[in-house]
Symmetry: C2
Subunit: 181 residues, 2 copies
């Protein structure tokens, strides 16, 4: 199988990194606890007067580079590869690309090693990428063609209302990915 | 149709940019005239004692950012879009990614405008990208799957020995791209 794996909030804990940075920079400011995240784009979970600050933080230098990995994600990808599957990191740039694209490459190099950088596919339209599975926390993944992959929802608080697709976490992924094999 | 278009030596004149920089930096040094380029990777056309210098120049800060566009390429892409086709920039990072990936985004923004950045697909394996045509100067494009696209060779001196595929230049592309339509 070709297994496409998203980065933000699937392999890299975007929400946790954002909350930690937010509380460090603005310790007395309102914040949304991780379990209460509801919108795909984190700034939309915040009151309007804070949205620009959250947005700016997500796009700031070093933010993507320093995201903590989701526990078990790196090991899961390596296990898929060891079982003969092909894994590609299938990721999109944020609203602005200045820091995030380079930092996504650096992040993969840090947590997987330099050869894995060649497995990155950066695209805003994931339907154009061929694969059997796409593991991604985004609730609706649309593009210009009908995808070849099955979308498996990476379980996060913001996507718990999605009930029409299979879901996984890195704590319990083998039964989903290797189902029927 | 979905038309994938390569960047280096297809939309951006990598060879011309390289030669101009090389002659500016090392005016008395040996150089390979544009028409005598034979290898896909330019440093391999140079004698061994100069290869590291050429390689370093290709990977230096600002090199990709400042490549001149191939005459007619930007207009060709815009015409394809205006005729209802979908065009994506399908490009790979160089051997090192430090400057080139960000600069490829900046280059597209400069010559096409900010919205076109969303049309970039960065991948080392172009066979994983779905499309009807891939316009690319690289002689052999291989990957883990059989491509969905037809490879149309963008004509450059280094790929003149490729005779088993259709070819085009931006001076004469409509007959090739729109053949049979």
């Amino acid at each position: 199988m070709i297994i496409l794996v998203d980065m933000d909030n699937t392999l890299a804990d975007f929400d946790k990194g954002l909350l930690e940075n937010w509380q460090r920079l603005y310790p007395n400011e309102y914040f949304v606890p991780l379990e209460e995240r509801r919108e795909f784009h984190p700034h939309k979970d915040y009151p309007e007067h804070l949205q620009d600050k959250i947005y700016a933080l997500c796009h700031s230098k070093g933010f993507i580079r320093n995201l903590p990995p989701m526990p078990g994600g790196v090991a899961a990808v390596k296990e898929m590869l060891s079982k003969g599957h092909d894994v590609r990191f299938c990721t999109s740039h944020l609203f602005e690309y200045d820091y995030c694209i380079l930092e996504k490459y650096q992040w993969i190099e840090e947590y997987f090693g330099a050869p894995f950088v060649d497995r990155i596919i950066l695209t805003r339209d994931k339907t154009l990428i061929r694969g059997d599975l796409l593991i991604d926390d985004k609730p609706e993944i649309v593009g210009i063609v009908k995808p070849s992959w099955e979308h498996i929802v990476y379980d996060r608080p913001h996507n718990r209302d999605v009930t029409d697709r299979r879901r996984l976490t890195w704590e319990k992924w083998r039964d989903v990915v290797f189902a029927g094999q």
